[in-house]
């Protein structure tokens, strides 16, 4: 026997469906909690590279070969070439 509460639930459900409602898409549930606005600055500072974490990033790399060779001749210095085969070594690689 349907109780009054169950009938109310069915009515609500039917009205909702006819009103164009839809169930959340599979996978649309959110696993990650909200970030409080007061945490923004500290989170940015936490996630960026820390001082001395990657000292090689602090080098003023040249990415143009002709420019690098010209500077090596002008400054009488050797070249150190840092290569990566699947992206720049200065980026994601």
């Amino acid at each position: 026997m349907l109780t009054a509460m169950k009938l109310n639930r069915i009515t609500v459900c039917v009205v909702w469906i006819f009103a164009g409602g839809s169930f959340p898409a599979a996978g649309a549930e959110e696993r990650v909690a909200a970030i409080p606005e007061s945490d923004l600055q500290s989170l940015l500072e936490t996630l960026k590279p820390q001082p001395r974490e990657s000292p090689w990033r602090e080098i003023e790399w040249v990415t143009n070969i002709t420019e690098a060779r010209r500077r090596a001749v002008a400054e009488d210095k050797p070249l150190v070439i840092f290569t990566a085969a699947d992206g720049s070594p200065l980026g994601r690689t």
Binding site: L43, I65, A68, R70, L79, I81, F82, T93
Partner: protein
């Protein structure tokens, strides 16, 4: 000099790379003519390895150290030119790091290692990648009638570019983009006056495969979710965006070893990661590195898609 060896340049630069043996993933020391120095030693960016290189270089005759260089005007253009940032566009640098939680529940950077059981293990560094926006795209962020409280949705091509490329966990480096299953990214005007407009960005993205504990080691099981919070400022005097700060916290899962050989084995599952983004000027070479997924080995299709 830092070089992506898929983009070695014009005919002279290509010839120089061949002579110098500049290919693959390594460090090499050479003269401007391409003569190798310390050829039989494994080079590292440490004074212990570089000091002898300098001594070897100094011992060379002047003609070897300072050779005449070819006229660049006679070079054939590169077969594959390095992409340049869009004129008038924005260059954003993103960082990616594994995270953990502090005692008070806040996100903190986690220290992880490549091959952690190996005595020669080394710490996984924060990774970085770039995001490029065209002038038309970033201008779409600024409402014509910027009243505090007004809300707008970021255009789908920008939203999807962000989430699929720098919104994912790319701590193992050269991992391809992940398709976006579902995402939102809204901008709310928080302040607006004669000096400019401040916007708060809120976003959430579902990328790759949905989470499933039992799929942990299956191929094509990578997936992640990330929540974003950001602050963007448009300077009315310069008519440019002068702040673009976005932070994100996320969870990632799936077969980490699908695309890469460098392993960071994580005990936590799903594991947590975060992203931080900032505006860069584009004046240095490191600022002008193309976004990983703009290049030919990207997997998300055209980088600059049109649409709303």
């Amino acid at each position: 000099m830092a070089l992506d060896t898929y983009f070695r340049g014009n005919s002279q630069e290509l010839e120089f790379c061949k002579k110098a043996g500049a290919g693959g993933n390594h460090l090499a020391a050479v003269t401007a003519s391409g003569r190798r120095l310390a050829e039989k030693k494994e080079l590292k960016l440490r004074s212990a390895e570089l000091t002898p290189v300098l001594a070897e270089f100094k011992a060379l005759p002047d003609a070897e150290r300072r050779p005449p260089l070819e006229d660049p005007a006679s070079a054939a253009p590169p077969n594959r030119p390095v992409p340049q940032p869009p004129a008038g566009g924005l260059i954003i640098r993103g960082y990616c790091a594994y995270t953990t939680k502090t005692e008070n529940g806040k996100a903190a950077k986690a220290t992880q290692f490549y091959y952690k059981e190996n005595p020669d293990r080394w710490a996984a560094e924060t990774q970085s990648d770039m995001l490029w926006l065209t002038e038309e795209e970033w201008k779409s962020f600024i409402p014509a009638d910027a009243k505090p409280g007004s809300v707008s949705e970021v255009a789908a091509p920008i939203r999807e570019r962000f989430f699929s490329t720098i919104g994912i966990d790319y701590m193992e480096g050269s991992v391809n983009s992940l398709p976006v299953r579902n995402s939102t990214m809204t901008l709310t005007v928080t302040e607006s006056d004669a000096k400019g407009v401040t916007l708060r960005l809120d976003g959430y993205g579902h990328m790759g495969q949905p989470f499933a504990e039992h799929d942990r080691n299956k191929s094509n099981s990578r997936g992640c979710e990330i929540r974003l919070l950001g602050k963007i400022h448009y300077n009315a005097n310069t008519r440019r965006i002068d702040r673009f700060d976005i932070a994100g916290t996320g969870q990632a899962w799936g077969n980490k070893m699908e695309y890469v050989r460098r392993e960071v084995r994580l005990d936590e599952y799903p594991w947590t990661y975060g992203t931080a983004c900032e505006l860069v000027t584009g004046t240095s070479a490191i600022d002008r590195i193309p976004p990983y997924n703009l290049l030919h080995y990207g997997s998300a299709g055209p980088y600059f898609k049109k649409g709303k």
